[in-house]
Symmetry: C2
Subunit: 333 residues, 2 copies
Protein backbone atom coordinates (compact mmCIF):
# COMPACT_ATOMS: atom_id res chain seq x y z
CA UNK A 1 0.00 0.00 0.00
CA UNK A 2 1.60 3.21 -1.16
CA UNK A 3 0.49 6.68 -0.03
CA UNK A 4 1.37 9.93 -1.86
CA UNK A 5 2.05 12.63 0.73
CA UNK A 6 2.09 16.40 0.23
CA UNK A 7 4.99 17.22 2.57
CA UNK A 8 4.59 20.99 2.20
CA UNK A 9 1.01 21.50 3.42
CA UNK A 10 0.10 22.65 6.92
CA UNK A 11 1.32 25.10 9.55
CA UNK A 12 4.34 23.06 10.65
CA UNK A 13 5.37 21.66 7.27
CA UNK A 14 7.51 19.99 6.27
CA UNK A 15 8.95 19.10 9.73
CA UNK A 16 5.86 17.58 11.33
CA UNK A 17 4.75 15.81 8.14
CA UNK A 18 8.11 14.13 7.65
CA UNK A 19 8.24 13.12 11.32
CA UNK A 20 4.71 11.69 11.17
CA UNK A 21 5.38 9.76 7.96
CA UNK A 22 8.54 8.19 9.39
CA UNK A 23 6.74 7.20 12.59
CA UNK A 24 3.86 5.70 10.59
CA UNK A 25 6.34 3.83 8.38
CA UNK A 26 7.92 2.35 11.52
CA UNK A 27 4.52 1.39 12.92
CA UNK A 28 3.06 -0.28 9.78
CA UNK A 29 5.50 -2.44 7.80
CA UNK A 30 2.97 -2.80 4.95
CA UNK A 31 3.01 0.94 4.11
CA UNK A 32 5.14 2.72 1.51
CA UNK A 33 5.29 6.46 0.89
CA UNK A 34 5.97 8.92 -1.90
CA UNK A 35 6.91 12.22 -0.30
CA UNK A 36 6.50 15.35 -2.47
CA UNK A 37 8.23 18.55 -1.41
CA UNK A 38 11.15 20.91 -1.51
CA UNK A 39 13.92 18.34 -1.04
CA UNK A 40 16.38 20.93 0.19
CA UNK A 41 14.09 21.22 3.20
CA UNK A 42 12.69 17.69 3.33
CA UNK A 43 15.83 15.59 2.92
CA UNK A 44 17.66 16.84 6.04
CA UNK A 45 14.60 15.82 8.09
CA UNK A 46 14.70 12.19 6.97
CA UNK A 47 16.56 9.92 9.34
CA UNK A 48 15.78 6.69 7.47
CA UNK A 49 14.66 6.45 3.84
CA UNK A 50 13.24 2.92 4.11
CA UNK A 51 9.98 2.69 2.13
CA UNK A 52 9.98 6.45 1.54
CA UNK A 53 10.53 7.76 -1.97
CA UNK A 54 11.43 11.46 -2.15
CA UNK A 55 10.22 13.53 -5.12
CA UNK A 56 11.16 17.16 -5.73
CA UNK A 57 8.29 19.64 -6.22
CA UNK A 58 9.04 23.26 -7.05
CA UNK A 59 6.03 25.13 -5.69
CA UNK A 60 3.55 25.04 -2.82
CA UNK A 61 -0.19 25.77 -2.78
CA UNK A 62 -0.69 28.22 0.05
CA UNK A 63 -3.72 28.52 2.32
CA UNK A 64 -4.54 31.94 0.89
CA UNK A 65 -4.42 30.71 -2.74
CA UNK A 66 -7.72 30.58 -4.64
CA UNK A 67 -8.21 26.78 -4.79
CA UNK A 68 -9.27 26.06 -8.37
CA UNK A 69 -6.86 28.58 -9.87
CA UNK A 70 -3.98 27.27 -7.75
CA UNK A 71 -4.59 23.67 -8.83
CA UNK A 72 -4.64 24.72 -12.50
CA UNK A 73 -1.58 26.93 -12.32
CA UNK A 74 0.70 25.20 -9.81
CA UNK A 75 1.12 21.88 -11.57
CA UNK A 76 4.59 21.58 -10.03
CA UNK A 77 3.24 21.92 -6.50
CA UNK A 78 3.65 19.18 -3.90
CA UNK A 79 -0.14 18.70 -3.70
CA UNK A 80 -0.87 18.46 -7.42
CA UNK A 81 2.17 16.26 -8.09
CA UNK A 82 1.10 13.90 -5.29
CA UNK A 83 -2.39 13.71 -6.82
CA UNK A 84 -0.86 13.06 -10.24
CA UNK A 85 1.04 10.10 -8.79
CA UNK A 86 -2.28 8.63 -7.59
CA UNK A 87 -3.88 9.25 -10.97
CA UNK A 88 -0.96 7.49 -12.71
CA UNK A 89 -1.31 4.47 -10.43
CA UNK A 90 2.07 5.00 -8.74
CA UNK A 91 0.36 5.53 -5.39
CA UNK A 92 -3.06 4.48 -4.05
CA UNK A 93 -4.04 7.37 -1.76
CA UNK A 94 -3.40 11.09 -1.29
CA UNK A 95 -2.66 12.75 2.04
CA UNK A 96 -2.27 16.48 2.70
CA UNK A 97 -2.46 19.03 5.51
CA UNK A 98 -2.75 21.89 3.02
CA UNK A 99 -5.45 24.15 1.53
CA UNK A 100 -8.74 22.22 1.85
CA UNK A 101 -10.39 23.79 -1.18
CA UNK A 102 -7.36 23.05 -3.33
CA UNK A 103 -7.26 19.45 -2.10
CA UNK A 104 -10.93 19.03 -3.03
CA UNK A 105 -10.25 20.51 -6.47
CA UNK A 106 -7.16 18.30 -6.92
CA UNK A 107 -9.10 15.22 -5.89
CA UNK A 108 -11.94 15.96 -8.29
CA UNK A 109 -10.00 17.30 -11.29
CA UNK A 110 -6.80 15.23 -11.11
CA UNK A 111 -7.86 11.94 -9.52
CA UNK A 112 -11.46 12.07 -10.72
CA UNK A 113 -14.93 11.12 -9.59
CA UNK A 114 -16.21 7.59 -9.07
CA UNK A 115 -18.74 6.67 -11.76
CA UNK A 116 -22.18 7.11 -10.23
CA UNK A 117 -21.12 9.77 -7.74
CA UNK A 118 -22.32 13.10 -9.10
CA UNK A 119 -20.42 15.18 -6.51
CA UNK A 120 -17.80 14.03 -3.99
CA UNK A 121 -18.36 15.08 -0.37
CA UNK A 122 -16.03 16.08 2.45
CA UNK A 123 -16.48 13.83 5.46
CA UNK A 124 -14.86 14.55 8.84
CA UNK A 125 -15.15 12.24 11.83
CA UNK A 126 -16.45 14.10 14.88
CA UNK A 127 -16.42 13.24 18.59
CA UNK A 128 -19.69 12.66 20.41
CA UNK A 129 -20.92 12.96 23.97
CA UNK A 130 -20.05 9.28 24.47
CA UNK A 131 -16.29 8.70 24.69
CA UNK A 132 -15.16 6.24 22.02
CA UNK A 133 -18.22 6.91 19.85
CA UNK A 134 -17.80 9.18 16.85
CA UNK A 135 -20.00 10.41 14.01
CA UNK A 136 -19.33 11.03 10.33
CA UNK A 137 -20.79 14.17 8.78
CA UNK A 138 -21.05 14.53 5.01
CA UNK A 139 -21.03 16.82 3.11
CA UNK A 140 -19.15 19.19 5.39
CA UNK A 141 -18.50 21.73 2.66
CA UNK A 142 -17.26 20.36 -0.67
CA UNK A 143 -20.47 21.61 -2.32
CA UNK A 144 -22.21 24.98 -2.02
CA UNK A 145 -25.18 23.56 -3.91
CA UNK A 146 -26.63 20.11 -3.41
CA UNK A 147 -29.29 17.96 -5.11
CA UNK A 148 -31.33 15.19 -3.50
CA UNK A 149 -29.53 12.48 -5.47
CA UNK A 150 -26.15 13.68 -4.14
CA UNK A 151 -27.29 13.26 -0.55
CA UNK A 152 -28.57 9.74 -1.23
CA UNK A 153 -25.20 8.85 -2.76
CA UNK A 154 -23.42 10.35 0.26
CA UNK A 155 -25.60 8.30 2.60
CA UNK A 156 -24.46 5.14 0.81
CA UNK A 157 -20.79 6.13 0.99
CA UNK A 158 -21.10 7.06 4.66
CA UNK A 159 -22.78 3.71 5.37
CA UNK A 160 -20.01 1.74 3.65
CA UNK A 161 -17.32 3.76 5.44
CA UNK A 162 -18.88 3.38 8.89
CA UNK A 163 -19.40 -0.34 8.33
CA UNK A 164 -15.90 -1.07 7.05
CA UNK A 165 -13.69 1.40 8.87
CA UNK A 166 -15.63 1.83 12.10
CA UNK A 167 -16.93 -1.76 12.24
CA UNK A 168 -20.56 -0.82 12.77
CA UNK A 169 -22.77 -3.59 11.41
CA UNK A 170 -25.77 -1.48 10.48
CA UNK A 171 -24.80 2.21 10.73
CA UNK A 172 -27.58 4.62 11.72
CA UNK A 173 -27.95 7.33 9.09
CA UNK A 174 -29.70 10.62 9.90
CA UNK A 175 -30.52 13.66 7.78
CA UNK A 176 -29.54 17.09 9.14
CA UNK A 177 -32.73 19.13 8.94
CA UNK A 178 -34.53 22.04 10.63
CA UNK A 179 -36.84 19.79 12.65
CA UNK A 180 -37.23 16.13 13.46
CA UNK A 181 -40.66 15.47 11.90
CA UNK A 182 -40.69 13.74 8.50
CA UNK A 183 -42.21 16.71 6.67
CA UNK A 184 -39.69 19.31 7.87
CA UNK A 185 -37.41 21.37 5.68
CA UNK A 186 -37.37 22.84 2.22
CA UNK A 187 -38.28 20.76 -0.87
CA UNK A 188 -34.69 19.44 -1.11
CA UNK A 189 -34.71 18.02 2.40
CA UNK A 190 -38.22 16.65 2.05
CA UNK A 191 -37.17 14.77 -1.08
CA UNK A 192 -33.99 13.48 0.56
CA UNK A 193 -36.06 12.19 3.49
CA UNK A 194 -38.24 10.17 1.10
CA UNK A 195 -35.21 8.79 -0.75
CA UNK A 196 -33.32 7.75 2.39
CA UNK A 197 -36.41 6.08 3.79
CA UNK A 198 -37.04 4.19 0.55
CA UNK A 199 -33.45 2.96 0.09
CA UNK A 200 -33.14 -0.46 1.73
CA UNK A 201 -29.34 -0.29 1.90
CA UNK A 202 -29.60 2.67 4.27
CA UNK A 203 -30.55 2.28 7.94
CA UNK A 204 -32.32 5.63 8.01
CA UNK A 205 -33.22 6.87 11.50
CA UNK A 206 -34.88 10.12 10.40
CA UNK A 207 -34.14 13.82 10.68
CA UNK A 208 -31.73 15.23 13.21
CA UNK A 209 -31.32 18.87 14.29
CA UNK A 210 -27.99 20.62 14.61
CA UNK A 211 -28.16 20.73 18.41
CA UNK A 212 -28.08 16.91 18.39
CA UNK A 213 -25.08 16.65 16.06
CA UNK A 214 -22.75 15.23 18.70
CA UNK A 215 -25.30 13.43 20.90
CA UNK A 216 -24.54 9.99 19.40
CA UNK A 217 -28.02 9.64 17.88
CA UNK A 218 -26.58 8.58 14.50
CA UNK A 219 -23.37 7.07 13.13
CA UNK A 220 -23.56 8.99 9.86
CA UNK A 221 -25.23 12.37 9.33
CA UNK A 222 -25.88 13.50 5.77
CA UNK A 223 -26.34 17.18 5.03
CA UNK A 224 -26.40 19.52 2.08
CA UNK A 225 -22.87 20.92 1.78
CA UNK A 226 -23.77 24.51 2.61
CA UNK A 227 -25.51 23.66 5.89
CA UNK A 228 -23.02 20.94 6.81
CA UNK A 229 -20.18 23.41 6.42
CA UNK A 230 -21.95 26.05 8.51
CA UNK A 231 -22.86 23.58 11.27
CA UNK A 232 -19.35 22.16 11.46
CA UNK A 233 -17.85 25.65 11.68
CA UNK A 234 -20.44 26.79 14.25
CA UNK A 235 -19.65 23.75 16.39
CA UNK A 236 -15.89 24.26 16.15
CA UNK A 237 -16.27 27.99 16.73
CA UNK A 238 -18.36 27.58 19.87
CA UNK A 239 -16.06 24.91 21.26
CA UNK A 240 -12.98 27.02 20.71
CA UNK A 241 -14.64 30.18 22.05
CA UNK A 242 -15.91 28.51 25.24
CA UNK A 243 -12.63 26.78 26.03
CA UNK A 244 -10.73 30.06 25.54
CA UNK A 245 -13.21 31.97 27.71
CA UNK A 246 -12.87 29.37 30.44
CA UNK A 247 -9.08 29.50 30.27
CA UNK A 248 -9.14 33.29 30.52
CA UNK A 249 -11.59 33.26 33.40
CA UNK A 250 -9.40 30.80 35.28
CA UNK A 251 -6.31 32.95 34.78
CA UNK A 252 -7.89 36.29 35.65
CA UNK A 253 -9.81 35.54 38.80
CA UNK A 254 -7.47 35.67 41.73
CA UNK A 255 -5.34 33.13 43.52
CA UNK A 256 -8.14 30.87 44.72
CA UNK A 257 -9.45 30.33 41.20
CA UNK A 258 -5.91 29.89 39.84
CA UNK A 259 -5.24 27.21 42.42
CA UNK A 260 -8.54 25.55 41.63
CA UNK A 261 -7.70 25.73 37.94
CA UNK A 262 -4.43 23.89 38.50
CA UNK A 263 -6.33 21.15 40.33
CA UNK A 264 -8.89 20.62 37.58
CA UNK A 265 -6.44 20.94 34.69
CA UNK A 266 -6.18 17.20 33.94
CA UNK A 267 -9.97 16.82 33.84
CA UNK A 268 -10.40 19.82 31.52
CA UNK A 269 -7.48 18.79 29.31
CA UNK A 270 -9.16 15.48 28.66
CA UNK A 271 -12.33 17.23 27.40
CA UNK A 272 -10.31 19.66 25.33
CA UNK A 273 -8.50 16.77 23.64
CA UNK A 274 -11.69 14.87 22.95
CA UNK A 275 -13.42 17.85 21.37
CA UNK A 276 -10.42 19.20 19.50
CA UNK A 277 -10.69 19.13 15.73
CA UNK A 278 -7.68 16.89 15.11
CA UNK A 279 -8.34 14.06 17.53
CA UNK A 280 -10.42 11.84 15.29
CA UNK A 281 -8.47 11.38 12.06
CA UNK A 282 -8.67 13.32 8.86
CA UNK A 283 -11.55 14.45 6.69
CA UNK A 284 -12.06 12.15 3.70
CA UNK A 285 -13.01 13.44 0.26
CA UNK A 286 -15.40 10.58 -0.46
CA UNK A 287 -16.47 10.01 -4.04
CA UNK A 288 -13.16 10.20 -5.87
CA UNK A 289 -11.34 7.15 -7.22
CA UNK A 290 -8.84 6.88 -4.34
CA UNK A 291 -8.72 7.84 -0.66
CA UNK A 292 -7.98 11.58 -0.50
CA UNK A 293 -7.58 12.70 3.08
CA UNK A 294 -6.95 16.06 4.63
CA UNK A 295 -6.01 16.62 8.21
CA UNK A 296 -6.00 19.93 10.08
CA UNK A 297 -3.21 22.32 9.08
CA UNK A 298 -2.16 22.74 12.68
CA UNK A 299 -1.97 18.99 13.35
CA UNK A 300 0.86 17.54 15.36
CA UNK A 301 2.63 14.22 14.81
CA UNK A 302 0.01 12.11 16.63
CA UNK A 303 -2.82 13.34 14.42
CA UNK A 304 -0.73 12.67 11.31
CA UNK A 305 0.05 9.12 12.40
CA UNK A 306 -3.59 8.38 13.23
CA UNK A 307 -4.73 9.81 9.87
CA UNK A 308 -2.23 7.63 8.03
CA UNK A 309 -3.65 4.69 9.99
CA UNK A 310 -7.10 5.69 8.74
CA UNK A 311 -5.86 5.75 5.12
CA UNK A 312 -4.26 2.34 5.65
CA UNK A 313 -7.60 0.96 6.87
CA UNK A 314 -9.38 2.38 3.82
CA UNK A 315 -6.84 0.76 1.51
CA UNK A 316 -6.84 -2.58 3.34
CA UNK A 317 -10.64 -2.75 3.41
CA UNK A 318 -10.90 -1.50 -0.19
CA UNK A 319 -13.54 1.01 0.87
CA UNK A 320 -13.44 2.92 -2.41
CA UNK A 321 -13.78 -0.27 -4.44
CA UNK A 322 -16.81 -1.22 -2.40
CA UNK A 323 -18.43 2.10 -3.25
CA UNK A 324 -17.58 1.61 -6.93
CA UNK A 325 -18.98 -1.94 -6.94
CA UNK A 326 -22.13 -0.96 -5.06
CA UNK A 327 -22.97 1.87 -7.44
CA UNK A 328 -22.33 -0.32 -10.48
CA UNK A 329 -25.04 -2.70 -9.24
CA UNK A 330 -27.30 -0.07 -7.66
CA UNK A 331 -27.05 3.24 -9.49
CA UNK A 332 -28.65 6.24 -7.74
CA UNK A 333 -30.05 8.91 -10.01
CA UNK B 1 -47.96 51.09 26.16
CA UNK B 2 -49.99 47.92 26.49
CA UNK B 3 -48.57 44.40 26.04
CA UNK B 4 -50.68 41.28 25.41
CA UNK B 5 -49.14 38.38 27.31
CA UNK B 6 -49.72 34.65 26.77
CA UNK B 7 -49.65 33.59 30.43
CA UNK B 8 -49.86 29.86 29.63
CA UNK B 9 -46.73 29.35 27.47
CA UNK B 10 -43.45 27.97 28.80
CA UNK B 11 -42.22 25.30 31.18
CA UNK B 12 -43.08 27.15 34.39
CA UNK B 13 -46.33 28.79 33.26
CA UNK B 14 -48.36 30.47 34.47
CA UNK B 15 -46.45 31.03 37.77
CA UNK B 16 -43.24 32.51 36.39
CA UNK B 17 -45.03 34.56 33.71
CA UNK B 18 -47.40 36.17 36.20
CA UNK B 19 -44.49 36.88 38.58
CA UNK B 20 -42.43 38.45 35.80
CA UNK B 21 -45.30 40.57 34.53
CA UNK B 22 -46.01 41.93 38.01
CA UNK B 23 -42.35 42.75 38.58
CA UNK B 24 -42.13 44.50 35.19
CA UNK B 25 -45.31 46.43 35.98
CA UNK B 26 -43.71 47.62 39.23
CA UNK B 27 -40.51 48.57 37.43
CA UNK B 28 -42.04 50.51 34.52
CA UNK B 29 -45.01 52.76 35.40
CA UNK B 30 -45.71 53.40 31.69
CA UNK B 31 -46.55 49.74 30.96
CA UNK B 32 -49.99 48.10 30.96
CA UNK B 33 -50.72 44.40 30.42
CA UNK B 34 -53.44 42.15 29.10
CA UNK B 35 -52.87 38.71 30.58
CA UNK B 36 -54.51 35.77 28.73
CA UNK B 37 -54.82 32.45 30.51
CA UNK B 38 -56.80 30.03 32.61
CA UNK B 39 -57.99 32.46 35.26
CA UNK B 40 -58.59 29.71 37.79
CA UNK B 41 -54.83 29.27 37.78
CA UNK B 42 -53.74 32.81 36.99
CA UNK B 43 -55.88 34.83 39.39
CA UNK B 44 -54.57 33.31 42.63
CA UNK B 45 -51.04 34.27 41.53
CA UNK B 46 -51.84 37.95 41.18
CA UNK B 47 -51.00 39.98 44.26
CA UNK B 48 -51.88 43.37 42.74
CA UNK B 49 -54.07 43.91 39.66
CA UNK B 50 -52.85 47.47 38.95
CA UNK B 51 -52.42 47.94 35.16
CA UNK B 52 -53.06 44.22 34.56
CA UNK B 53 -56.24 43.16 32.77
CA UNK B 54 -57.07 39.47 33.12
CA UNK B 55 -58.77 37.66 30.22
CA UNK B 56 -59.97 34.07 30.34
CA UNK B 57 -58.73 31.73 27.58
CA UNK B 58 -60.00 28.17 27.42
CA UNK B 59 -57.17 26.27 25.72
CA UNK B 60 -53.37 26.22 25.48
CA UNK B 61 -51.11 25.60 22.48
CA UNK B 62 -48.66 22.95 23.61
CA UNK B 63 -45.02 22.61 22.56
CA UNK B 64 -45.79 19.34 20.81
CA UNK B 65 -48.70 20.81 18.80
CA UNK B 66 -48.21 21.21 15.06
CA UNK B 67 -47.90 25.02 14.83
CA UNK B 68 -50.07 26.03 11.87
CA UNK B 69 -52.81 23.55 12.72
CA UNK B 70 -52.82 24.62 16.37
CA UNK B 71 -53.16 28.29 15.48
CA UNK B 72 -56.07 27.52 13.14
CA UNK B 73 -57.88 25.21 15.54
CA UNK B 74 -57.20 26.68 18.97
CA UNK B 75 -58.73 30.12 18.50
CA UNK B 76 -59.57 30.19 22.20
CA UNK B 77 -55.97 29.61 23.25
CA UNK B 78 -54.07 32.15 25.33
CA UNK B 79 -51.59 32.73 22.49
CA UNK B 80 -54.09 33.27 19.66
CA UNK B 81 -56.37 35.41 21.84
CA UNK B 82 -53.41 37.60 22.85
CA UNK B 83 -52.51 38.00 19.16
CA UNK B 84 -56.11 38.86 18.36
CA UNK B 85 -55.99 41.66 20.96
CA UNK B 86 -52.99 43.13 19.14
CA UNK B 87 -54.72 42.82 15.80
CA UNK B 88 -57.80 44.60 17.20
CA UNK B 89 -55.66 47.45 18.50
CA UNK B 90 -56.38 46.68 22.17
CA UNK B 91 -52.69 45.96 22.79
CA UNK B 92 -49.52 47.03 20.96
CA UNK B 93 -47.23 44.00 21.35
CA UNK B 94 -47.39 40.23 21.87
CA UNK B 95 -45.24 38.30 24.34
CA UNK B 96 -45.11 34.53 24.78
CA UNK B 97 -42.86 31.79 26.15
CA UNK B 98 -44.76 29.11 24.22
CA UNK B 99 -44.41 27.05 21.03
CA UNK B 100 -42.09 29.06 18.74
CA UNK B 101 -43.55 27.77 15.48
CA UNK B 102 -47.07 28.57 16.66
CA UNK B 103 -46.03 32.07 17.73
CA UNK B 104 -44.52 32.67 14.27
CA UNK B 105 -47.73 31.43 12.65
CA UNK B 106 -49.87 33.57 14.98
CA UNK B 107 -47.77 36.63 14.28
CA UNK B 108 -47.99 36.16 10.52
CA UNK B 109 -51.61 34.98 10.18
CA UNK B 110 -53.31 36.94 12.98
CA UNK B 111 -51.26 40.16 13.32
CA UNK B 112 -50.06 40.20 9.72
CA UNK B 113 -47.00 41.18 7.71
CA UNK B 114 -45.68 44.70 7.25
CA UNK B 115 -46.26 45.90 3.70
CA UNK B 116 -42.97 45.46 1.85
CA UNK B 117 -41.74 42.58 4.01
CA UNK B 118 -42.24 39.41 1.99
CA UNK B 119 -41.42 37.10 4.91
CA UNK B 120 -40.94 37.96 8.60
CA UNK B 121 -37.78 36.64 10.25
CA UNK B 122 -36.97 35.35 13.73
CA UNK B 123 -34.20 37.40 15.34
CA UNK B 124 -32.53 36.36 18.61
CA UNK B 125 -29.88 38.48 20.33
CA UNK B 126 -26.75 36.42 21.00
CA UNK B 127 -23.79 37.00 23.32
CA UNK B 128 -20.32 37.56 21.86
CA UNK B 129 -16.78 37.02 23.00
CA UNK B 130 -16.75 40.64 24.26
CA UNK B 131 -18.83 41.07 27.42
CA UNK B 132 -21.54 43.68 26.89
CA UNK B 133 -21.45 43.28 23.12
CA UNK B 134 -24.17 41.21 21.46
CA UNK B 135 -25.14 40.27 17.92
CA UNK B 136 -28.51 39.91 16.19
CA UNK B 137 -28.98 36.94 13.88
CA UNK B 138 -31.84 36.87 11.38
CA UNK B 139 -33.45 34.74 10.08
CA UNK B 140 -32.85 32.14 12.79
CA UNK B 141 -35.53 29.79 11.48
CA UNK B 142 -38.86 31.35 10.57
CA UNK B 143 -38.29 30.35 6.92
CA UNK B 144 -37.14 27.02 5.48
CA UNK B 145 -36.78 28.67 2.07
CA UNK B 146 -35.37 32.13 1.47
CA UNK B 147 -35.05 34.48 -1.51
CA UNK B 148 -32.42 37.20 -1.95
CA UNK B 149 -34.97 40.00 -1.53
CA UNK B 150 -36.01 38.59 1.87
CA UNK B 151 -32.45 38.79 3.14
CA UNK B 152 -32.07 42.39 1.98
CA UNK B 153 -35.30 43.29 3.80
CA UNK B 154 -34.03 41.49 6.92
CA UNK B 155 -30.76 43.44 6.75
CA UNK B 156 -32.75 46.70 6.81
CA UNK B 157 -34.86 45.57 9.76
CA UNK B 158 -31.77 44.37 11.66
CA UNK B 159 -30.08 47.70 11.01
CA UNK B 160 -33.05 49.70 12.31
CA UNK B 161 -33.33 47.46 15.37
CA UNK B 162 -29.62 47.64 16.25
CA UNK B 163 -29.61 51.42 15.75
CA UNK B 164 -32.72 52.13 17.83
CA UNK B 165 -32.69 49.46 20.50
CA UNK B 166 -28.96 48.84 20.86
CA UNK B 167 -27.94 52.46 20.19
CA UNK B 168 -25.36 51.59 17.55
CA UNK B 169 -24.99 54.54 15.18
CA UNK B 170 -24.00 52.59 12.09
CA UNK B 171 -24.53 48.87 12.73
CA UNK B 172 -22.16 46.50 10.94
CA UNK B 173 -24.15 43.99 8.86
CA UNK B 174 -22.56 40.71 7.72
CA UNK B 175 -23.87 37.87 5.56
CA UNK B 176 -23.51 34.33 6.93
CA UNK B 177 -21.82 32.41 4.11
CA UNK B 178 -19.49 29.46 3.50
CA UNK B 179 -16.40 31.63 3.05
CA UNK B 180 -15.38 35.24 3.51
CA UNK B 181 -14.52 36.12 -0.13
CA UNK B 182 -17.14 38.09 -2.09
CA UNK B 183 -17.79 35.32 -4.61
CA UNK B 184 -18.47 32.56 -2.07
CA UNK B 185 -21.68 30.60 -1.74
CA UNK B 186 -24.51 29.36 -3.90
CA UNK B 187 -26.34 31.69 -6.32
CA UNK B 188 -28.65 32.90 -3.51
CA UNK B 189 -25.79 34.07 -1.31
CA UNK B 190 -23.89 35.60 -4.22
CA UNK B 191 -26.95 37.65 -5.13
CA UNK B 192 -27.52 38.72 -1.52
CA UNK B 193 -23.89 39.85 -1.30
CA UNK B 194 -24.39 42.12 -4.33
CA UNK B 195 -27.65 43.51 -2.93
CA UNK B 196 -26.25 44.27 0.53
CA UNK B 197 -23.20 45.93 -0.95
CA UNK B 198 -25.31 48.08 -3.27
CA UNK B 199 -27.80 49.21 -0.61
CA UNK B 200 -26.54 52.46 0.89
CA UNK B 201 -28.71 52.18 3.98
CA UNK B 202 -26.80 49.06 4.98
CA UNK B 203 -23.28 49.20 6.47
CA UNK B 204 -22.29 45.91 4.85
CA UNK B 205 -19.02 44.47 6.16
CA UNK B 206 -18.99 41.36 3.95
CA UNK B 207 -19.39 37.62 4.44
CA UNK B 208 -18.88 35.94 7.77
CA UNK B 209 -18.40 32.24 8.49
CA UNK B 210 -20.24 30.34 11.20
CA UNK B 211 -17.12 29.97 13.35
CA UNK B 212 -17.04 33.77 13.67
CA UNK B 213 -20.69 34.09 14.66
CA UNK B 214 -19.94 35.21 18.21
CA UNK B 215 -16.60 36.95 17.64
CA UNK B 216 -18.10 40.46 17.59
CA UNK B 217 -17.20 41.04 13.94
CA UNK B 218 -20.71 42.30 13.12
CA UNK B 219 -23.68 43.79 14.95
CA UNK B 220 -26.25 42.14 12.69
CA UNK B 221 -25.78 38.86 10.81
CA UNK B 222 -28.27 38.01 8.07
CA UNK B 223 -28.71 34.41 6.99
CA UNK B 224 -31.12 32.32 5.01
CA UNK B 225 -33.54 30.82 7.53
CA UNK B 226 -32.47 27.20 7.05
CA UNK B 227 -28.78 27.85 7.71
CA UNK B 228 -29.45 30.43 10.43
CA UNK B 229 -31.57 27.90 12.27
CA UNK B 230 -28.93 25.17 11.94
CA UNK B 231 -26.09 27.44 13.05
CA UNK B 232 -28.01 28.73 16.06
CA UNK B 233 -28.87 25.17 17.12
CA UNK B 234 -25.30 23.95 16.54
CA UNK B 235 -23.95 26.78 18.67
CA UNK B 236 -26.44 26.15 21.47
CA UNK B 237 -25.88 22.41 21.25
CA UNK B 238 -22.10 22.66 21.51
CA UNK B 239 -22.29 25.14 24.36
CA UNK B 240 -24.66 22.97 26.34
CA UNK B 241 -22.70 19.78 25.61
CA UNK B 242 -19.34 21.26 26.63
CA UNK B 243 -20.64 22.81 29.83
CA UNK B 244 -22.28 19.51 30.78
CA UNK B 245 -19.13 17.53 30.01
CA UNK B 246 -17.06 19.92 32.10
CA UNK B 247 -19.49 19.67 34.99
CA UNK B 248 -19.38 15.87 34.81
CA UNK B 249 -15.60 15.79 34.60
CA UNK B 250 -15.34 18.02 37.64
CA UNK B 251 -17.70 15.81 39.64
CA UNK B 252 -16.16 12.47 38.68
CA UNK B 253 -12.46 13.05 39.08
CA UNK B 254 -11.54 12.59 42.71
CA UNK B 255 -11.30 14.89 45.65
CA UNK B 256 -8.57 17.19 44.27
CA UNK B 257 -10.57 18.03 41.17
CA UNK B 258 -13.76 18.43 43.21
CA UNK B 259 -12.00 20.88 45.49
CA UNK B 260 -10.60 22.75 42.51
CA UNK B 261 -14.07 22.81 40.96
CA UNK B 262 -15.50 24.47 44.04
CA UNK B 263 -12.81 27.12 43.83
CA UNK B 264 -13.43 27.96 40.18
CA UNK B 265 -17.23 27.79 40.38
CA UNK B 266 -17.85 31.55 40.41
CA UNK B 267 -15.63 32.09 37.35
CA UNK B 268 -17.36 29.27 35.40
CA UNK B 269 -20.81 30.37 36.50
CA UNK B 270 -20.20 33.77 34.99
CA UNK B 271 -19.37 32.24 31.59
CA UNK B 272 -22.34 29.90 31.79
CA UNK B 273 -24.65 32.84 32.42
CA UNK B 274 -23.21 34.89 29.59
CA UNK B 275 -23.56 32.11 27.05
CA UNK B 276 -26.90 30.81 28.22
CA UNK B 277 -29.76 31.18 25.77
CA UNK B 278 -31.96 33.34 27.94
CA UNK B 279 -29.55 36.02 29.09
CA UNK B 280 -29.97 38.46 26.20
CA UNK B 281 -33.68 39.10 25.85
CA UNK B 282 -36.19 37.39 23.64
CA UNK B 283 -36.23 36.52 19.96
CA UNK B 284 -38.21 39.06 17.92
CA UNK B 285 -40.42 38.05 15.00
CA UNK B 286 -39.45 41.05 12.87
CA UNK B 287 -41.62 41.92 9.90
CA UNK B 288 -45.09 41.76 11.42
CA UNK B 289 -47.14 44.84 12.29
CA UNK B 290 -46.35 44.81 16.01
CA UNK B 291 -43.52 43.59 18.25
CA UNK B 292 -43.98 39.82 18.67
CA UNK B 293 -41.42 38.43 21.06
CA UNK B 294 -40.70 34.95 22.27
CA UNK B 295 -38.45 34.08 25.13
CA UNK B 296 -37.12 30.66 26.03
CA UNK B 297 -39.70 28.25 27.49
CA UNK B 298 -37.47 27.54 30.47
CA UNK B 299 -36.93 31.22 31.28
CA UNK B 300 -36.98 32.42 34.85
CA UNK B 301 -38.36 35.71 36.16
CA UNK B 302 -35.24 37.76 35.33
CA UNK B 303 -35.34 36.78 31.66
CA UNK B 304 -39.05 37.62 31.50
CA UNK B 305 -38.52 41.05 33.02
CA UNK B 306 -35.62 41.84 30.67
CA UNK B 307 -37.66 40.71 27.64
CA UNK B 308 -40.56 42.93 28.69
CA UNK B 309 -38.01 45.75 28.94
CA UNK B 310 -36.95 44.96 25.37
CA UNK B 311 -40.58 45.14 24.17
CA UNK B 312 -40.99 48.45 26.00
CA UNK B 313 -37.94 49.83 24.16
CA UNK B 314 -39.35 48.70 20.82
CA UNK B 315 -42.66 50.42 21.58
CA UNK B 316 -41.06 53.60 22.92
CA UNK B 317 -38.70 53.90 19.93
CA UNK B 318 -41.47 52.94 17.48
CA UNK B 319 -39.13 50.44 15.83
CA UNK B 320 -41.87 48.77 13.81
CA UNK B 321 -43.16 52.12 12.54
CA UNK B 322 -39.66 53.02 11.43
CA UNK B 323 -39.49 49.80 9.40
CA UNK B 324 -42.92 50.54 7.89
CA UNK B 325 -41.94 54.12 7.03
CA UNK B 326 -38.57 53.12 5.58
CA UNK B 327 -40.07 50.50 3.29
CA UNK B 328 -42.79 52.87 2.12
CA UNK B 329 -40.09 55.25 0.87
CA UNK B 330 -37.56 52.59 -0.16
CA UNK B 331 -39.31 49.42 -1.30
CA UNK B 332 -37.06 46.36 -1.74
CA UNK B 333 -38.13 43.92 -4.43
Amino acid sequence: MKIAVDAMGGDHAPEVVVKGVQAARDQWPDLEFMLFGDLAKVKPLITDETRIELIQSDSVILNEDEPVKAVRQKKDSSMVMAAQAVKNGEAEALFSLGNTGALLATGIFVIGRIKGIERPALMPTLPTVNPGHVVNLLDAGANAESKASYLEQWAIMGTIYARDIRNITNPRVALLNNGTEFDKGDPLHKEVYQRLEANEAINFVGNIEANSLLLDQADVIVSDGFTGNAVLKATEGMSSLLLKQIKQALLNNGLGVKLGAAMIKPALGDIKNRFSTSGNGGAVLLGVKAPVIKTHGGSHEDAIISTIGQIREMLAKKTIHQVIDYLKENPIK
